[in-house]
């Protein structure tokens, strides 16, 4: 049970170690014998992994040990990137949110999770520390495959940095046709920035649940940027979302259904972000 980040990196070095944040996802795998680590490295006693702070550049630095419940209620998260608080508040149930951490959530890298698409849309990066030092990794470069990250065995996520964007209007919508605490059929995160005259200055959209990782959708900026919000090309947004989705059939819908829903909910999310009817 390491007390510092360097101690944790040492403990993680070599084969057979499993890092645990809140342990909710890993608890499930451990319980069912789906992972059999030689040792568990619990990060919950490392004070340096906690805290949420605003940098001089307006960016938000969120410690990896922050729980989803803390994320959901933190005033700076709500003020600067409300979609992240929204996504955290809708994941699983209060008991999981009370324990599950941001770092653990990202390290688990399940493509159906809520926070990865939001962090992709927001342009966030993860601060990663290993025995050899610290590096900043964009979320797209962290999540490299189905439940697979680019972390080396001795590395752990120490914080997540969300850049500030002037005029940010960010939205996260999750579509769950089964029960609301289920993983979404598709989750759509949008981060648009809008000038005072109503013109769209920037737009990023990401999907969760419809590919081996959360994916940033290409071509959304072309459909929105430079236009007035009311002149957004929503059909192009839908088409871009559909072509980025490479889903598989499961109990949350057939591949074709998920692809269609990706387009539909992408349009709803963009509309909500641009100030249309709030369909959350």
């Amino acid at each position: 049970m390491p007390a510092t980040v360097p101690e944790a990196c040492q403990a993680l070095t070599g084969d057979g170690a499993l890092a645990l944040g809140g342990g909710t996802a890993m608890g499930l795998l451990l319980r069912n014998g789906l992972v059999e680590p030689e040792r568990l490295v619990w990060l919950g006693r490392i004070a340096a992994l906690g805290g949420i702070a605003v940098g001089t550049d307006g960016s938000l630095r969120i410690g990896a040990a922050t729980t989803l419940a803390e994320l959901a209620r933190h005033p700076e998260v709500l003020r600067r990137c409300a979609s992240l608080a929204r996504a955290a508040s809708g994941a699983a149930n209060p008991r999981i949110r009370a324990v599950a951490t941001l770092g653990g959530h990202l390290g688990h890298a399940d493509p159906r999770q809520d926070l990865p698409p939001v962090l992709l849309a927001l342009g966030a990066s993860a601060e990663v520390t290993g025995v050899g030092g610290t590096r900043l990794v964009e979320i797209a470069d962290l999540l490299v495959g189905f439940m697979e990250t680019s972390l080396a065995p001795d590395e752990l996520i120490t914080s997540v940095v969300v850049p500030e964007r002037v005029g940010r209007r960010d939205v996260y919508l999750r579509y769950t046709p089964n029960s609301h605490d289920d993983y979404p059929t598709v989750g759509v995160a949008v981060d648009v920035s809008v000038a005072p005259d109503g013109r769209v200055m920037g737009a990023r959209l990401a999907l969760g649940g419809v590919a081996p990782t959360a994916v940033l959708v290409e071509g959304v900026a072309d459909a929105l940027v430079g236009r007035a919000a009311s002149a957004a090309d929503l059909e192009a947004v839908a088409e871009a979302a559909r072509s980025s989705a490479t889903p598989v059939d499961d109990q949350r819908g057939s591949a074709a259904y998920k692809q269609a829903m990706s387009g539909l909910w992408a349009v709803r999310a963009v509309r909500a972000a641009l100030g249309g009817a709030d369909e959350r």
Partner: protein
């Protein structure tokens, strides 16, 4: 590993397997009000408090217990008699399977948000599945408990 923690207010020191679950630990100590339901953190019948937070004990690793303050339904209703009273008076139960979890969830909500309104109560209880009551009487019971404490 050795773990020192408090369970329903009493100090405990015991050997635990780090990857074993808190649910089994409390039940093996005779605290069988905490049930195993889904065993995947969804249904809520195994809810206990750890450091005043509601957790699914079916997924809570004993390796985290050292230094923790754990309360089960048995300890909570003794500590706060008005909690059980409110559920009894409002008939906040039907078959009873989910009740221990609902009671612990109510205690957790009071600790976090004592002035919670009905909407927040419903939000909190959404993670504790009841398939009998339709929740009306459970929400009433939790509201009564919050008003009295």
């Amino acid at each position: 590993m050795r773990a020192r923690f408090t369970l329903n207010g009493a100090p405990v020191e015991t050997d635990v397997a780090p990857a074993s679950m808190l649910l089994d630990l409390v039940r093996e100590r005779g605290l069988t009000g905490t049930k195993e339901g889904c065993a995947v953190g969804i249904c809520g019948v195994c809810t206990v408090l750890v450091d005043d937070r509601p957790v699914s004990s079916c997924l809570y690793l004993c390796g985290f217990l050292d230094g923790a303050d754990v309360w089960t339904v048995e300890g909570l209703v003794e500590r706060e008699p008005e909690l059980a009273d409110a559920f009894v008076e409002c008939e906040g139960m039907q078959c009873g399977i989910c009740t221990p979890g609902q009671v612990v969830a109510a205690a957790a909500l009071r600790l976090r948000s004592p002035g919670a309104g009905a909407a927040e109560v419903r939000e909190e209880l959404a993670g504790n599945l009841c398939r009998c009551t339709g929740y009306e009487t459970i929400v009433e019971a939790v509201m009564r408990y919050l008003e009295r404490s």
